[in-house]
Symmetry: C2
Subunit: 288 residues, 2 copies
């Protein structure tokens, strides 16, 4: 049984995992936190997501002590941690992550983990979050009814089964998927909606930059449609840079397809083809 | 004081106006309904939105009897009703509407209304609705805290003041705006988000049409981001055809601008320009 979990990255997701471990999964071991930004780990400790915090300068020593390492940072730092942890961990220990893209992470981990004498790595991705980050917004219930994807790259181990059981106790719906398919599907359901919201919000800002009365009208008149399609425009670059860097081709393909679809719609605003577009769209139902 | 309101079009908006008149504005006169689809007016009567329903075949006689005529249909039928009502109404009566675009409506009404001996016309547009229509979804509270725009084209009259007071009693925030500016701003805050949702939902349907497992993954993995950016994809063509027909140039301009912005973002997924896009988008705040 795991007696110590180390969460590397104590922002919204990392701190919510700490809260869920302690409040939903009845994990009785020790939950330790580390964050490059000491204010985040201090906040996570304050809200009860952690039992103990390692100093930012402790990172060199962090690897040696836990049964389960949860990498809860953006994707590029996850890649760094994978490289740094591999040489100092051993069989029986588990590294798992919450990274938003999986193909690059899995390709790297496949070389460094899961072999004889090595720690296990279970790639994960909880489909949960908020448009703003930080431990201050963490909630134990963040993962309830959310899908928590795993993209396993090796045979299951006992410690991996323990982590899966903990995640299930968070209230998440666990689903396994191939890493390449993960990145393709996430481009459609997550990365494209994000880029769309960012583009629309940025376009509105620039369009009305020299027209404060127009922007005031936009803000006064805009309702739920505008709010929902621009909400993600508030998302932080820091996280999305890594997603764009590690899923570029899939995101570019979905963007190009949408550009072409918008052009088609624009050229048919007054033709019967508009009916076909609405009719096709009417057949789509997102998970409610 | 108005003693009789005739609502032409008894779908979601028309029936909600009936409910709001009777339950929120304490309107003590008679609320009469007419709809080209008798099932809609029957449903509106059933839920208490109307006191009386004119038969669909009564439409030739409907014009003679009310103080206030509320045109609660899509835009093209509103244009038809404006032409049919003008010759049979007289000074002291008010026609108002809820049409989603205003420039064409105002241009037509300016020739037929508001002159000596003619009925008054007050163009209106409540920024409220749902992605599905019909009297069955009507609510008295639909307009509470929503913005109700007017685009007046003539000097105010006493009967117009009465209608404004009733709308205020619905809980709506009344705001006057120029008809041309209305259509330009609504292209940004309403029509563009709609076309975007329609394009994205239609694209997903076509992309995964031959890949049921992929569509199942999209539905299972998609969360709030996908749900919010595709919600309006369920909107009916019947209403949007008229909006696209009567605000074509503004909608095409916003679509083209967004296509270009998405292309720019796509070409900069791995450059520092992505940071600029996120930073600019972060400055946008829709009304919460």
């Amino acid at each position: 049984m795991a007696t110590r979990v180390l969460i590397l990255g104590n922002g919204l997701i990392g701190a919510s995992i700490g809260l869920a471990l302690k409040n939903l999964a009845s994990f009785e071991g020790e939950v330790i936190g580390w964050d490059a930004n000491p204010a985040e780990s201090a906040k996570a400790l304050e809200i009860g997501a952690l039992d103990r915090v390692l100093a930012a300068s402790d990172e060199a020593f962090a690897p040696y002590s836990a049964d389960i390492y949860v990498l809860a940072t953006p994707v590029l730092p996850i890649l760094d941690w994978l490289k740094r942890l591999a040489p100092v961990l051993h069989e029986g220990q588990l590294v798992t992550d919450v990274g938003s893209t999986k193909a690059e992470i899995c390709a790297l981990a496949d070389k460094l983990y899961n072999g004889p004498g090595h720690a296990a790595f279970l790639p994960g991705h909880p489909m949960a979050g908020k448009e703003s980050g930080g431990a201050a917004l963490a909630e134990a219930s963040l993962f309830q009814r959310a899908t928590w994807l795993f993209t396993p790259i090796a045979e299951p181990t006992p410690i991996e089964a323990e982590w899966r059981a903990l995640v299930t106790a968070f209230g998440a719906n666990v689903r396994d998927i191939d890493p390449e398919q993960h990145d393709e599907v996430c481009a459609w359901v997550s990365h494209l909606p994000q880029m769309l919201s960012t583009a629309l919000a940025a376009l509105l800002v620039d369009t009305f930059a020299s027209d404060p009365a127009g922007m005031a009208a936009v803000e006064a008149i805009g309702g739920r449609a505008l709010r929902e399609t621009t909400r993600l425009g508030a998302s932080p670059y820091s996280m999305w840079r890594d997603i764009a860097m590690t899923n570029t081709d899939n995101i570019a393909a979905t963007l190009l397809a949408l550009e072409q679809r918008l052009q088609h719609l624009r050229e048919n605003l007054r033709t019967p083809e508009l009916r076909e577009e609405f009719s096709t769209a009417n057949r789509f139902r997102a998970k409610s």
